[in-house]
Symmetry: C2
Subunit: 412 residues, 2 copies
């Protein structure tokens, strides 16, 4: 599919993340209150103000949940209408007054997260972490090639790009210590992930095909992780406080419709999947991803480059598996993909892998080294799909590490 | 504290679960719509209709979340006002018309669950399960005496007492099989738990004392668990679909105020707790609990008797620990205690323990045996605290097992 042209000039550049082909959904505030917006070139469209053809109730609250709940027909109708409004000169006069410069807009959480589930679907990541923790022979757990392994995360931890992230306190136990101590995490890390947003609810088991239909769109996702808290707490019931500090998402929901041209297949299976997990067609996307780290006041270094298509399980497979037990899914549920590491050393999506557990510190362009994150570091995830003369972007997914809060007197 | 007497005669019986000392909060429907109610003797008070002295906004939706969000002063004022209205004859004429017989009322979810966290704070349970899975020497994980181990559960799984529970489908792998199959769980189980409801939000770390102040009340909780799904899926990230079928809670929220006289201390510590987890006073409650199992169409057998005071960690300690990483807590968060097993074989709070992994099936009063739950079985949890001439009850927490749904063609 070629670039669709818009009367918004900046949307026709090959460099913009937001051509007419994209039309991602967000929430913005330009000083006049939080509203629902659609990115187009260098602007945000104040969508409730234009003749969108839908019930105004869908735009009453500054969040996209009501539009999601209205279902796939409404998703399609809105996209078609916005495409017309932003391409046909006949509408320019009515629509242009409702464009706000992105540089004047602060971006807020685009939707209300109902529940958050995080998966572990990157094979390179699972093998890397498994090799470090259990040795190369036992790297992949026995269930890994059969189950899209996941755990429930904490929805209250999800924040929008730009929100500072305070280094967590927690229980830590040094390998040679007998007892744990309470203090700031010393091994605070990022995880490069992709997030799928459930737009249609379900109550009972759904197929991979039905699950794909339920997905409204995607965001970039950084699953901040305290490796030292995790190492001490995670047996036998999994990660808990190690993952509850923050989960940063990119500000724009890129719709499934915008990503259609970039569908591709998950890797060949080493072990046949059970029938319920088999995919009726390509269910993953070719999306280039990068991670950049900037020490406080200094230039950033791109520390990893990866691609969403490395994942072994698609979001549709994960969502299908999530419903097998009868678990009800709701509008606004967020599914993290798991860390997206590629096969090469510089395509690893976490510092745990990039520094091989801290044993091989990374050297940044500034000459500094990093095993894990330091206070003042700014982490940025970026992603885009490349079309014929255009690209589909998500906006930066960024967060700056603040020092841990002081330990309260009652905790000393 | 002795029995407080009410002009509602049935509330003055030593046998009622709902004397004036209790005043638990629920949601009911007598055919005229869902409303907020307060149990008193054999009745439910239609609380929005009486002169409760608070803003009507707090009673606009059929759920107790708005009252919780109004904060502890409002919680105290409402309890004081209801005590006056239901004890002083002067109010009888105005209040009595708004009493609905409990036998005419269907009880609904008393509150909207924001997020659900389940803990693992029963030492007898942890030792029993650990012995079965890892041997007696490694029964307790090394972190268990230091951390209130928990994992995030699925809020959408929480249902009110009386909701049927469909046996889950899932991935199962027999110990001698090479590969998993997809089918109905054969080892479906209950877990006897207590649930604490967060009434006040937090954003940052809170002390045990502050955490206790944040708790609005308690319910009984059955954490239905598919042991065979769990055994295959839970490494390395913890239980997921095994716990997502349903989580049943009792219909009445018993307030922290009603339970004050029954506070008692958690057990002596084998290893000193870190300062942040130390309790400033008694934080657990003396509440007798029982589990009854009735095969379809037959009499029930009480299969276990336990007490909440067996727990090693209190809900206040669990909530404090939950906030250490900076995790925000919200109004309506639900914390499951973990399975409440006592030291004796007949005080074990799950069939996994009662039948010792299925090796020692239980014989019911009907002569039938059980290793795990069978279709048609009705499980009921009951709990009460015993005061001076009165008891504080929660109402039955019950669920009947329905057969698993048929496996869809696309999953065969």
């Amino acid at each position: 599919m070629p670039l669709k042209t818009s009367w918004v000039d900046s949307a026709n550049s090959a460099d913009t993340d937001f051509p007419l082909n994209n039309l991602p959904y967000g929430v913005f505030d330009d000083g006049q209150g939080a509203r629902m917006g659609v990115a187009i070139g260098d602007f945000v469209l104040d969508v409730a103000k234009v003749d969108h053809g839908l019930s105004p109730d869908l735009f009453a609250a500054p969040e996209w949940n009501a539009v999601m709940a209205a279902g796939p027909k409404v998703w399609g109708a809105l996209r078609e209408r916005l495409t017309l409004l932003l391409s046909d000169q006949a509408y320019r006069g009515a629509v242009e007054p409702h464009l706000v410069a992105q540089s004047d807009a602060r971006l807020l959480m685009p939707f209300r997260v109902s529940e958050y589930t995080d998966f572990y679907a990157g094979k390179h990541h699972a093998v890397n972490v498994g090799t470090m923790f259990r040795g190369a022979e036992n790297a992949l757990p026995p269930n890994w090639l059969s189950i899209p392994i996941g755990y429930n995360g904490r929805a209250s931890s999800v924040v929008v790009s730009g929100t500072p992230v305070k280094r967590p306190l927690g229980q830590l136990k040094a390998p040679d210590a007998e007892l744990p101590e309470f203090g700031p995490s010393k091994r605070f890390d990022l995880e490069l992930e992709f997030g799928a947003i459930v737009g249609s609810p379900s109550d009972g088991m759904v197929s991979v095909e039905q699950a794909d239909d339920m997905i409204f769109g995607y965001v970039l996702l950084n699953d901040w992780s305290a490796r030292d808290i995790q190492a001490w707490e995670y047996q036998p019931l999994g990660p808990f406080q190690a993952k509850a500090t923050a989960t940063t998402i990119s500000p724009w929901i890129v719709t499934k419709a915008a990503l259609e041209p970039f569908r591709t297949s998950t890797p060949e299976r080493e072990r046949p999947l059970l029938p319920y997990l088999q995919e009726p067609g390509p269910m993953i996307y070719d999306i280039a991803l990068e991670v950049a780290l900037a020490p406080e006041g200094k230039d950033e270094t791109v520390i990893a480059q990866s691609n969403y298509s490395h994942m072994y399980y698609s979001a549709a497979q994960q969502l299908c598996h999530h419903t097998t037990s009868g678990c009800a899914m709701r509008v606004g549920d967020l599914l993290g993909s798991g860390t997206i590491s590629g096969p090469e050393p510089d395509s690893r999506g976490s510092l745990l892998e990039l520094s091989w557990g801290g044993k091989e510190p990374l050297t940044l362009g500034t000459g500094e080294t990093r095993s894990f994150l330091e206070d003042g570091d700014t982490l940025t995830l970026r992603g885009h799909a490349t079309g014929d003369g255009y690209r589909i972007g998500f906006g930066d997914c960024t967060g700056t590490i603040l020092p841990a809060g002081p330990i309260p007197d009652w905790a000393k």
